[in-house]
């Protein structure tokens, strides 16, 4: 039995089609179509189960990383590359092998991608938030895909790029070692000072030195 579920938000519509093995069942057993419609742009992106899984793996994780504001050590290996930039811009690069291309579009080369292997979709923050919300609603809906359980996890420490890059951390050490080497080279070429024995003959005292200083005048102390 063919079943259809739709999650509608002001800027995004997510439609899931699938088959149920039992008559009268309300849950999908097999996903046959996942259609994501960006309403403002009149653009529809269609795919199968692989496309849905890729969306679920990539988009919420990118949203969480953007929310935390951390920088990753290396770009995540998700099937869909999500880049959230400042100034209200989000871009999604979706591999075309995940998509179902309509027959009329096969004849024309892809206009928005030079390589032709990925479809690049540009969104605003609001459209991206709607996509995340639609996926969250899908995951929370026990009537659609009950096996789909949203899982969250924090990124481990090793996945995060250090706040100060290693090159900057090592720069003071390098400058110190270089200056030490330069100074060592300079002092190596300087001659070693010779030790002179102290002279035996004493210098006769000058007449000024032997003139007695005037006796200090002490104030007279009153007798008790």
């Amino acid at each position: 039995m063919l079943l259809q579920r739709q999650y509608s938000l002001p800027n995004c519509r997510l439609r899931i089609e699938g088959l149920s093995g039992q008559a009268g069942a309300e849950q999908l057993d097999i996903v046959t179509l996942c259609e994501w419609e960006i309403i403002d742009q009149n653009q529809r992106v269609k795919g199968g189960k692989k496309f849905l899984v890729a969306l679920l793996n990539s988009v919420p994780a990118a949203a969480q990383t953007w929310l935390s504001g951390v920088k990753l050590r290396r770009s995540p290996q998700y099937p869909i590359q999500v880049e959230i930039r400042a100034s209200n811009q989000v871009s999604l690069r979706i591999p075309r092998k995940l998509l179902q291309v309509p027959p009329e579009e096969n004849a024309e080369p892809p206009a928005n991608d030079e390589a032709g292997e990925t479809l690049e979709v540009h969104l605003t923050w609001l459209q991206f938030a709607d996509l995340v919300e639609a996926l969250d609603q899908l995951c929370s809906d026990s009537q659609t895909l009950p096996t789909l359980i949203p899982t969250f996890h924090s990124l481990p420490r090793r996945a995060i790029a250090p706040a100060v890059p290693l090159r900057k951390q090592l720069m003071p050490l390098g400058i110190g070692a270089a200056s030490l080497a330069v100074m060592a080279a300079i002092f190596f070429h300087l001659p070693v000072p010779e030790r002179r024995p102290p002279r035996e003959e004493a210098v006769p005292p000058t007449p000024e030195a032997v003139t007695p200083s005037p006796a200090p005048t002490t104030p007279a102390t009153p007798n008790p």
Binding site: P60, L126, S140, F152, P156
Partner: protein, 202 residues
């Protein structure tokens, strides 16, 4: 001999916080999480003038007064943000962090309409190549955000040196609007909670 009932001591948490598990290997709220939570609360206060009262109301509604009984404690907890001018060096326990997360999410959910409206107007202004200050409510929000930020945060810290510039502060304010909308979603609380510990778990 009188009968005694021995029961293990269980920490009683409000039911809404049950969805937020303790992260592995973290016993207190990390420094970046304190900064992030305080910043989100600050943005909420700038979106709505009555948000600070709404936060206290949410604390009562969610039965979070066990952890944050009044506005003084709430202020003290927010002052654990290391970038504030008046900052407290006391560690922030995870239970209070969960309470702050719940407050952010609940207040953001109640302000979803305003958040969506401001972001929608931002899209339209950008499409016409107009600055955000062209629209009065957006300009008011940004102006309030800049004033509150500069009044409360210590701009002499090297991390905040960037925000002496109005443009950088405006970009931060706009980004926080979108982040609050993500927090207000169906799984927003879990998403915010786990994002607070990104890069902190082993």
């Amino acid at each position: 001999m009188p009968a005694t009932i021995e029961s293990p001591e269980v920490e009683l948490l409000p039911p809404i916080l049950a969805a937020l598990p303790d992260p592995q290997g973290v016993s207190v709220c990390p420094r970046r999480a304190r900064w992030q939570l305080d910043l989100l609360l600050l943005a909420l206060e700038c979106v709505d003038l009555h948000a600070s009262e709404l936060m206290l109301q949410v604390l009562r509604d969610l039965q979070l007064q066990v952890m944050i009984p009044n506005r003084v404690v709430f202020w003290q907890i927010r002052c654990t943000n290391p970038f504030r001018q008046i900052t407290q060096r006391t560690p922030l326990p995870l239970a209070e962090t969960k309470a702050l997360t719940a407050v952010v999410v609940q207040v953001a959910r109640r302000q979803t309409a305003i958040l969506r409206h401001l972001l929608l107007v931002l899209d339209q202004l950008q499409a016409q190549n107009l600055p955000p200050e062209t629209y009065a409510p957006l300009a008011e929000y940004l102006d309030r955000f800049r004033r509150h930020f500069r009044k409360r945060m210590n701009l002499q810290r090297s991390g905040l040196f960037l925000y002496k510039n109005n443009q950088a502060l405006n970009e931060l304010g706009l980004k926080l609007l979108a982040q609050l909308l993500l927090c207000a979603g169906t799984k927003g609380m879990e998403r915010l909670w786990f994002s607070l510990f990104d890069g902190e778990v082993s």
